[in-house]
Amino acid sequence: MTFSNLNRRRFLGTSIAATGLTLAAPRIARAADYPDRNISVIIPTREGGGADRNFRAFTSIWKDKLGTDFEPGFFPGASGRVGYEVYMGKNEPDAYSLIFGNMGPEVLNWAVQAPTFDVNDYFYFGQVDKDPGCLFVGAESKLQTLDDVIAEGKKRKLNVGTSRMAHPASIGLLALGEETGAQFNLIPLSGGKNTVAGAVTGEVDFSVLTSGSVIAAGDAVKTLLVFGENVVGEALDDAPSMNSVYGTDLPEMLSARAFGIHKKAADDYPDRMDHLNTTFKATFDDPALLEAYVASKGTPEYLSYGGIDECEAFKNAMLELGAKYKDLLSGA
């Protein structure tokens, strides 16, 4: 009854009308005019989170290069799905609307549960930062070294906290299990905060998580292994990388924030796309970006430029990994 006269499409329409009323009037603009109004950016996570912080720091520099301001709209929910569906379903593909997503967990999600749109109808064109997953124990855990973990994992199945099943860090752990023969049981603890708490309080034997949240947990936890390069050193307890310990050749298990855009927008307005690309790159070349990152207490070591090709490769790698581990991640 209450639900029958509502459907998602209509709801989404309304939400967009709310954020982007100024964008409603379609007009024909030449490249010279672009951008002649603010660019709206959908962020598929909660306001005040890590994405919000990085977005503000990055766009504070980018807006000067681009010559217009950015208006973020936060659409959390369903692990980012709501934001993407709003972006793909309702926002005009006119290069005045972008999405600021995470190419790691969010793309991995598509492999496990396909969205309603075609994943090739949008692409990421600018990677802002990358943050490798890592394995860590609580400060008081009995398992204090990587050897402890592997040895114990061969004796019994260890319970391992993760923020959710379809997450690059979870895949890193599965790969570690395959490599060493240790037995792991992934326990999704819903979110970084709970994943840290789970390892610290002993709800699980240890946890895997994006390293940014682990750094934030300070000396309550101890990092043992990084599923990628440890570029921050001591902040992650000088933990070694998976590939260096086991001689494996795994891709980095990253969380990577990037700006994405409708494919149609890039096709219809190549000059606008060009403008976005060049200014995005110029932002990285500006030393002020680093300052902005340091000022916002981000981890400046994780700032890492990636263009269309790098992003496309990343997205495809995630889709492949997701397809490979789909059964384990979805319980099918």
Partner: protein, 168 residues
């Protein structure tokens, strides 16, 4: 039994159990092919819900057969509802949710408050009502749109105010 005693109006009481049964069956249909983690507690809770609903329906059937209850809906709807303006209030409430998308937050709030108050007051003191509604709507605008910049639908009032504020 006492013939003067009014029969218990069971029709109304059955609405919630029937909704519960329909919802539970729908819920089950969505998890039929899901992993066990999605099923275990939903099946447990759902089965108990179906069981208690079935027991309740059985109790109702028994009491109807014994003549103590009837399938009436008097507890839920009555002529009173029209007279008290309850139906009117319901219509304005639904209207509020629908119109806010078109007219924007402030104007819709004003219209909703004034129309429903006038319905409930049976047309008395319209000027006072309009003033109260305007004050409330403007207060809401000041808090939600102007101060906290929430994503409420913007209508012509909000756009006009934005233009006025940015120019003045």
């Amino acid at each position: 039994m006492n013939p003067d005693k009014p029969r218990r109006q069971l029709g109304g009481e059955l609405v919630i159990p029937v909704l519960a049964i329909v919802f539970t069956l729908y819920f089950f249909s969505t998890i039929w092919n899901s992993p066990w983690t999605a099923q275990v507690s939903a099946f447990a809770v759902g089965s108990i819900l179906l069981l208690v609903c079935a027991m309740f329906i059985l109790r109702c059937i028994l009491s109807i057969r014994s003549g103590e209850g009837s399938l009436g809906f008097a507890t839920l709807f009555s002529r009173e509802d029209l007279a008290t303006g309850r139906i009117g209030l319901l219509i304005t409430t639904v209207g509020f949710c629908v119109l806010i998308e078109w007219l924007g937050f402030t104007l819709t709030t004003f219209l909703f408050l004034s129309i429903s108050m006038i319905i409930l007051a049976k047309g008395k003191r319209p000027v006072f009502i309009a003033a109260v509604s305007a004050a409330m709507a403007l207060g809401g605008w000041a808090v939600f749109i102007w101060a906290f910049d929430t994503r409420f639908p913007r209508g012509w009032f909000e756009t006009t105010m934005k233009a006025v504020l940015s120019n003045g």
